[in-house]
Symmetry: C2
Subunit: 187 residues, 2 copies
DNA sequence: ACTCTTATCTACATTAATGTCAATAATATT
DNA sequence: AATATTATTGACATTAATGTAGATAAGAGT
């Protein structure tokens, strides 16, 4: 038997979740099985169960971690003192990078669990406040519409942006300037 | 043994796919297993395999059917002589109803298969032509941006629209008028 | 009526994934 | 150095899903 490496519990959990996220990126949801993840991480699947209790426990933990990462990215995007022209660009970047689109799509096709949404509500409170400050929108309705448009477009972009740009035959410059163009439309 | 009902192959395939779509809506991707679908459809899982060859065959057939339904809805939305103010509304309705959002999310988190995209390309050709005619856009870049915005927003809306509107505390009227408002922004 | 096709079923086989358990060993603690 | 803790593992058990095969029967065509 090869020499056995012993990590701290946190290190192991982190290694497992990183591996799982990578497998989600490559293989899709089917890649999130404990045997596959354990193999890629170079550990036994029994160890994985030891740390997360069950296969569902691992997936819940991954969804939670990815949600926190998403919120973190959004908070960073909003915390900087942004100009109106930068706001949509930041939100788009935050939502379309780092596999966040896959997280949202995953949640959309997931059956049960449900999990905790409080952190997302918190994020939206922040989003509302920052957007109102930056854009100086008149009515509450307009503010809601603007956020809904940017958020849905960013989500759709994170999920299908690459395919759509390809289908439309868009040049790289046009794609790059898209978030800024969106901001100009609603400004 | 209860009396055995014998359908035509087409009827059986249709029954199975309808049941599968319903299970996808209710239980998510986990609901798309042949035993569960067969049980809900009131047939044996062996019959299901007889018609689709395998579990993956059933899922492929379902994805294909849902894609065709989506394209069909979009073609209808675009075939009518629409005014600019109706265009976005129609696209939004077509994408956000009938579980189309789940299809797109599914494709986003799916690993392999890949399947055929020609029908989607065809749809986008139509979308480009109709939009150009209706909106009379100056440059090709603007046309691409407009379509990208409407499409991504509609996709994001189909996947997360309900949740987002709830999080934002939007009134029903504001939600209903959203597609039209989007059209006004880009007009 | 008769035959032919094939949709359907039951029963079984196979595979894959999940979960359990007791033993082992790496590290921290005393 | 001795002890305690617990991360780790291999082997086993269980469950669930998928797939196979042969028999049956419903309906179409003659």
């Amino acid at each position: 038997m090869a020499v056995r490496r012993r990590r701290t519990a946190d290190e192991s959990r982190s290694l497992i979740l990183t591996t799982a996220a990578e497998r989600l990126r490559i293989y899709g949801l089917e890649g999130l099985n404990i045997t596959g993840v354990a193999e890629d991480a170079g550990i036994s699947h029994a160890t994985l169960i030891h740390h997360f209790g069950s296969s569902g426990g691992m997936r819940d933990a991954l969804a939670q971690k990815m949600t926190l990462d998403l919120v973190q990215d959004l908070v960073v995007a909003l915390d900087a003192k942004v100009s109106p022209s930068e706001l949509a660009r930041n939100v788009f970047a935050a939502l379309s990078e780092g596999g966040h689109g896959k997280l949202l799509a995953w949640r959309a096709v997931e059956g049960g669990s449900g999990q905790d949404f409080s952190v997302v509500r918190e994020m939206f409170g922040k989003l509302l406040a920052t957007t109102q400050k930056v854009l100086e929108v008149d009515t509450r309705e307009d503010l809601q519409r603007i956020i809904l448009l940017v958020a849905t477009a960013a989500i759709g972009y994170g999920i299908a942006g690459d395919t759509l740009c390809d289908l439309l035959g868009m040049s790289e410059e046009t794609v790059d300037g898209f978030p800024q163009w969106v901001t100009a439309q609603i400004g």
